[in-house]
Symmetry: C2
Subunit: 326 residues, 2 copies
Amino acid sequence: MEIIKKYETFFNDYLNNNCIEKEPNNLYEPINYILSIGGKRLRPLVILMSADVLGDKLKDALPAALSVEIFHNFTLMHDDIMDNAPLRRGQTTVHEKWDVNTAILSGDTMLVQSYKCLEKYSNTPQLYTLLSSVLSKTAIEVCEGQQYDIDFVNQNTITIEDYIKMITLKTAVLVACAFKMGAIIAGVTDKTATNLYEFGKNLGIAFQLQDDYLDTFGDSTLVGKQTGGDIIENKKTYLYIKSLQELEKDKSEELFELFQTTPKNPEAKIERAKQLFEESGSVVSLKQTIDKYTKLALQNLKELDIAKEKKAPFEKFAQELMFRNK
Amino acid sequence: MEIIKKYETFFNDYLNNNCIEKEPNNLYEPINYILSIGGKRLRPLVILMSADVLGDKLKDALPAALSVEIFHNFTLMHDDIMDNAPLRRGQTTVHEKWDVNTAILSGDTMLVQSYKCLEKYSNTPQLYTLLSSVLSKTAIEVCEGQQYDIDFVNQNTITIEDYIKMITLKTAVLVACAFKMGAIIAGVTDKTATNLYEFGKNLGIAFQLQDDYLDTFGDSTLVGKQTGGDIIENKKTYLYIKSLQELEKDKSEELFELFQTTPKNPEAKIERAKQLFEESGSVVSLKQTIDKYTKLALQNLKELDIAKEKKAPFEKFAQELMFRNK
């Protein structure tokens, strides 16, 4: 995304300069490995943008950006164990490349590191306290979100409300946290920081729903991976939950049964699930919901008590994020 | 132990009042379970004693005491996964009672909770910052210690120095952290807090070595479990490492081979290992080393710049800890 791309080199340089190379090697190597395989760096770049736009505090925001990126990668390392995932960003996951115990312990270390990064602010104890509390609140919520996601596997009646709650906790609050941390470092009022948090949260929900849409209906050449992954893994996403509710009894049962299977050649399953998603009206409903949360985010932005020209980059960010095709 | 026993009810009441009962149940139930099955509560009670004796700040120290107890139990929950341990304090471990994923995620949540507990001090941001930094430093070290311990399994040449370093990181620094946190809350000088940290560290090393001794040579009726557990699990403790070094080649090889086996009926193995430990002079050496670290701790205490009557409870604590038989 253009609007945050300009912060990328800046962040990556800081990340590389703060890479921890010490003993025991078996603890730190997996950490440097997962941090090096990239990803969109969405959250840290949001922090940098937020601090830069709101208070010209780009450089000051680097430790917080690193903190949140390390935290995010800690969640990936542990989630990959729980999901038994062989690959992450096309590379072997840590528990596969090393082993489960390594992924547990290196992940734990990263979680502590995400707090340690914030110590760069300890000369201003009030700032450290504030940022560290935001991190803790978010971290607890992310764990709760992951637990709800795990619980869904054995749960047959999930409502759309349950699903939105789960993705809010698992994904959206960390995006919100990134906006808020940048705002705090920029020194804005509590009210502005809270409103920006809400902006980030609604945008985060829209972002995750968009991800769900693209996973099933995206252009695989643009998305960069085969579409239909969520269907193959029998994931209970918006499309599945809504379709179960909306379809006639026989087709609803068909979809339910379809998601109990794991065929070796999943093409037919993917095709049929997509048909049922379309037929049920869930695809239209999903697009409307994405639209709803995007609009809520833009409304939050409108209500922000900051100069109009400072709002422009946030609006641009929202647009770029939501009108992406990958 | 008498000297800290008087704080026990006080701490347990606080723990029970701060037990988190919220959704998702699958996340919080295992946390309340592991916290409820007890243990010595050594670390939290040390914080309470330290804050009480040094600054009459017993009540103020409760959140820090809870923080460290939650942190300690987080490490147990994750260590038990890594060690594949079926029991903890005679009760089923979390990954056995629930599953590995639950133990990972509930453990992660506890690590965050240990930071969140400290937010009770956030009205004094300087205090929060200080305590939270001590927690992070300690937490990183504990993870490093656990990694060294894991590395030992596949390592054939371990020195006594390596071993002391490992137990310092894995066990002693958290005891040291407890003394220091209590001192910080009591409002003593940096120098006093640092000296008390060193006292706790040396005492923690002596404590772990004493544990090693009791595991093999303790009176099983007093220890409350069958002795020889470390030998059965082929653990590379002080006694094993030192014996490998000191024994003649043939007996050293015999001990090495003995620790490659896992007999169904381990009595003979335990007996032979104990003989070799005695014969090598390792038992005497271990006792001398325990004595050395206990004396170092008492020396730290002597050098502390506080009134003599305030030193007395710490000295009594050290004596009770070191002259225990269980």
